[in-house]
Symmetry: C2
Subunit: 474 residues, 2 copies
């Protein structure tokens, strides 16, 4: 002990790296080739894996071929195949070759760009690609670094992180004026369609859970928030001596893709002096197509905007864009300046240090991935991608529908139908409850989905539904 | 618009995937082969990249070869090479072939395992690998799923996330008893050597910044926290009607690797009823070697323990292990149960839903990576890895040292020496201030570092120091 081993352990030998990496690339390509053979939603039972794997780690090294065989045998049956063309559940998590290449480069370089100096290219590419993305979405120049008005963007891992950070910035800006004791008086506003991540983030940053207002929406507004509803809740809060803090509007809600009217809501936010965040996690990618950009009218009133390229923009997990009108407000809340990280460019305030724009110190070189996706496919390819998915959804919409059935049997039938389709392994869909009704969601847009899959899944649904109806009447 | 394009855009075609992925693998291997030719700390000037890249995204697709050429030409000169064998700054961020393969599989499958059902293998492998890792570190069984006492672990992206989540759990457990208004009375304790992430996390979850106690350490205790110091600060707080909430102890501090005495501190934590967190981000990996396990004596008193395989455990970014004695306390604070995610196994509480163990909903399949590292290298290989690095550090320690120089010239000389070494591009080190003195840190442990690099860097340091001394006296 203490003496050096004669033979050094070499876990980054380039020849081994090439050989094993090529094997894994081929393994993944085979997985994509055969993906339709697997049940889309895993049919594994809880606890299945601990019956297959040893309960202690191996003492000695195992060869990669053995590990890949075990992945095929033990892991793949327990995957729910998000990349299957027959995956219509939750949201699409688009993988792509370019996204994968970007992840490889991120992981291969394995640099940690918390401060500019800890890898200048990681910071600068991120700032450039955030401006590119903003230009593709035609966001107002105030959100761009190059806009010259102090704005800019950062890549987070998730919307929740973006919301935690912007909520913390809004909170600290408010508490600086009214004192920290007033944290229990701050109120956050969202709709009953807003992603639950906002409620969770609000709790995380210390707002009392009872100060989170879930404003009801109705079919009348397409399940979008109305300015009147928001205004009346805020007025009521003020009359009770609460302080409205933060309003989240959504472009493309989780359950049904509803769109909150940004222009009206932004005006209410201005009126009450609250932070206005726009969550476009899901539908934000569509803004690259001019015909969908109108859903973002009013975004110029936002204080912050987030969207996830890891959903519908061919960018493998994880990647969340967050733009800010005044990043200094975020930095004021999140910055730290420990001696061990001090350096000349940071001290001179010549550079962006992204550690102060996020929760953690460490960060991955995610910009590489988004940059590769944009360059490899180009704006034209990315627009085609979005339009192709919208085309598939419009195609599905035209297929015959079941008659509406408002009685309880309809609810039960939908639940049974969903369960039967998912248990068949041939497609995976999930549900929502909208206006009190149980709705089966059919979220089209995995990278491999083609019109033939949509048609076949529709036939599957019809067949299963007919079987259930027959069984009921026999 | 609305009509389907005749030719579908195919960004996940397996043949293209193989061809381009192989090209990128070879590119990364070439990067490792030639990594010593690059300046370790990038010599780029702030703003260098925006002069090289276009300020708008491309309209049309670009070939991968063009992109890789640009990475070589424009990006690599802006990287600070964390994988260089001459990188001795901050902390080691070990890359390895197995870590890279695990990242590829994670990215290739691109599943999102937020709930058990959204990919059972992702959840179950994570639970199994957390138990493996705990066994390797000889953590008490109460932190293992298989320990049968309700404990268990989760993979986060960073220590800060682990601290935010455990702080939120501790906060909500306390506020349930004493009311949310008392959030301004809660106090968090750490030492002047504790990573700043704890202070940041404490602010994020809404504890007033003035309620964060930075307890001084001294050379006398090896810059470790003492039980007496903690007890007296807590007693003082209680006398002022504050409520002690959370104590963070560190095994292997950022600046100099100091170790807080867990047993004594854990006893104080018990005495005052505060949450006791052990941050072993950096040195935690060493616990796999029996001869270093003694630094963890007393860990059985912890409520939670975190360590980062993405530092010193050959696991590419990002990967942070968090174990909890009572995960239900975490889940009570962070859980959400939106209708769109409801499913039978979750409703029956038969499974772990990791979305309730972390900040975000989305999560990457990080367990794949850690599992591959452990299997590919085995416990024996991983122990050799740790021992080899410790051996290199002990070797370096024996090399002749400069005479201590306590006057101001010594400080200035150290600053000039550090600056000159880093500007040479031949090595990168960073600094700390310990007990009021400016210290150059020499953090040994990147995957590619061998004894010849340590020796050559020592000669470089000597040469530069001599040059500076000569210049001063000429």
């Amino acid at each position: 002990m203490g003496s050096l081993p004669l033979e050094l352990f070499q876990p980054l030998d380039p020849d081994v790296f090439i050989k094993e990496s090529h094997a894994v690339v081929d393994f993944i390509a085979d997985y994509y080739r055969g993906i339709e053979q697997y049940p889309v939603r895993s049919q594994a039972e809880p606890g299945y894996l601990s019956k297959l794997l040893p309960d202690t780690p191996p003492i000695f090294s195992e060869p990669i071929d053995t590990i890949l065989e075990d992945i095929k045998k033990d892991i793949i049956p327990g995957l729910t195949h998000w990349q299957s063309p027959n995956f219509y559940a939750y949201f699409q998590a688009n993988a792509s070759t370019a996204g994968f290449l970007g992840e490889m480069l991120c992981s291969g370089f394995n640099v940690v760009g918390f401060s500019w100096i800890s890898s200048p290219a990681a910071t600068e590419l991120e700032s450039i690609v955030m401006d590119w993305m903003a230009k593709m979405m035609k966001l107002p120049s105030m959100f761009l670094f190059s806009g010259g008005q102090g704005g800019g963007g950062v890549l987070h891992g998730s919307t929740c992180e973006a919301v935690v950070c912007t909520l913390a910035a809004a909170r600290d800006k408010a508490l600086t004026k009214i004192g920290h004791d007033s944290i229990t008086k701050l109120v956050v506003y969202a709709s009953d369609q807003t992603h639950f991540t906002v409620q969770k983030a609000s709790k995380i940053i210390g707002i009392p859970p009872c100060n989170f207002r879930v404003i009801p929406t109705t079919a009348y507004s397409g399940y979008g928030l109305t300015a009147d509803a928001v205004r009346s809740v805020m007025e009521e809060d003020i009359s009770q001596e609460f302080t409205p803090l933060y309003l989240c509007a959504t472009v493309g809600t989780t359950a049904i893709g509803a769109v909150d009217p940004l222009l009206e809501l932004g005006q209410v936010a201005k009126e009450f002096g609250v932070w206005f965040h726009v969550d476009a996690a899901y539908a934000g990618s569509s803004a690259v197509c001019p015909e969908f950009r109108r859903y973002f009218d009013g975004v110029e009133l936002a204080d912050s905007i987030s969207m996830n390229p890891h959903k519908w923009f061919l960018t493998n997990m994880d990647c969340c864009c967050l733009w800010l009108r005044s990043p200094t407000e975020l930095v004021d809340s999140l910055s730290t300046n420990p001696e061990t990280l001090r350096n000349k460019p940071s001290d001179a305030r010549e550079v962006v240090d992204y550690k102060d724009w996020q929760i953690a110190l460490s960060r991955r070189f995610r910009a590489m991935k988004l940059w590769l996706v944009i360059r490899r496919y180009g704006m034209a390819g990315l627009m085609e991608h979005i339009r192709s998915d919208v085309g598939l959804a419009k195609h599905f919409e035209k297929l015959p529908r079941f008659d509406d059935d408002d009685d309880d049997d309809g609810l039960k039938m939908n639940i049974r139908l969903l369960d039967a389709v998912n248990s068949s392994g041939r497609a995976f869909m999930t549900h929502a409850i909208i206006g009190g009704r149980f709705v089966i969601r059919f979220a089209i847009g995995t990278t491999l989905t083609e019109i033939r899959h949509v048609d076949a899944t529709w036939r599957l649904i019809q067949g299963i539904a007919k079987g259930l109806l027959l069984a009921d009447h026999s």
